[in-house]
Amino acid sequence: MHTETKIIGRYIGKFGELWTQSLTDLVKEGVAGVLADSELDPAEIDAIFVANKAGGSFNEQRHLGALVSEQFAHFPPAMRVEGACASGGLAVIAAEQAIRSGLYQTVLVLGVEKMTDVSSSETSTILATAASRDKEYGSTFPALYAVLANYHIKRYGTTREQLSSVVVKNHHHAMTNPAAQFHKEFTLDQVGSSVMVADPLRLLDCSPITDGVAAVILSSKPSSRKTKLLGFGHAQDTLALQDRQDLGELAATRIAASKALKMAKLRQKDIQAAEVHDCFSIAEILATEDLGFFAKGEAASAIAAGQATYGGQVIINPSGGLKACGHPVGATGVKQVSFLSAMIEAGQIERGLTHNVGGSGATAVVNVLGI
């Protein structure tokens, strides 16, 4: 009978443009890293869930379940989970559901993406496959989030400086994260004068193209590790923005957060730190409103006022987020869980929340961690 699931191993590889490493190299690094942290006998891994968005397009390599499984002498059963940029968060809850079902006791979740072997325009094309092919042809993800940003600006008066404050904060947070892609601080003016991508989103409003791997091992077996998975929530919305009820929110985030916090028997005020899906500056503003940390229309001013950093109401994206830590798409949701688990094990926080989004909000996954 399942009583609790703990995170008994974690690993985050260096994020960045990793010229010397292939997709397979990243997989090997992630497996070795998480096994070393857990001090498990590899034979104790009952199953594997692999999070990856587009290895078939970026690297012409599919069948990633088998690629990860073959790193083990006993070839544990493995499958790939894909939900665009939410693949990592989905893989974590798929593993948790398998453990709760009683089928497995100890499960490896590995998220990986190798994005930098293709040109930036090819990358845009590949990433755009997470939008609706029938309804959103010609768009890009910066354009879709820019449409959301302009709607938010018109409705709530969100300013250029407030968008920039998200970026400044997350780059500051990344300075203390050795795995982060960027260790460089920016000023509000530098963000606001960077090259335009899709008005109003500029280059420094956008998360980067990143190679990287992250992994966690979940187990229902007794462990001296502190971090428990207290709750999870998963919700969907329409694939295309045009079919949404309200462009001022990502409803799937709101619903997933409600489910996860209810399962964890916690409220927003109990959460001390959150890794949220800041693929663009506007995305963190939407996320912190839809997760319930700030009232609708008030997150931008709260973040600009220092309420989303150390000493504020809640620490948002202590890793630097997707923006500064980097966004190797399939690895991101796993990295979020691994990073907050490390903070809990280090005694920095007792309760944290992760938020991973697929597409422009069609998929949302929230995990709640705590002691």
């Binding site: 029938d134 820019a146 018109k154 045009q242």
Partner: protein, 95 residues
């Protein structure tokens, strides 16, 4: 966009061509996927047609604001395919 995909989409042209609507939100793009780079800068828009909402590219070089009135027109929507098929589709233009 593959030739067959373009052909399937063509069947919707008569339903939308010439319709007018109001811009719900829009963004002028400076970066695009490889098939649309030649049209930059172009806008991406959400348009309320009354009975339904639609999202689509704006005609090349035009920018749009929330509340603008637009009509749906036929324009080239991607670079020429290796099959030498020129793909046309719906775009928004100012009324």
């Amino acid at each position: 966009m593959k030739t067959t995909e373009s052909w399937r989409n063509n069947k919707n042209w008569s339903k939308y061509l010439g319709k007018e609507g109001t811009v719900i939100s829009a963004s002028l793009m400076e970066v695009a996927a490889s098939d649309q780079v030649a049209f930059l800068p172009y806008a991406y828009l959400l348009v309320d047609l009354g009975e339904e909402k639609i999202s689509l590219m704006g005609v090349a070089g035009e920018s749009f604001e929330i509340g603008d009135q637009v009509k749906l027109v036929l324009r080239k929507i991607k670079k020429e395919a290796p099959e030498e098929v020129i793909a046309y589709g719906l775009k928004a233009a100012h009324v």
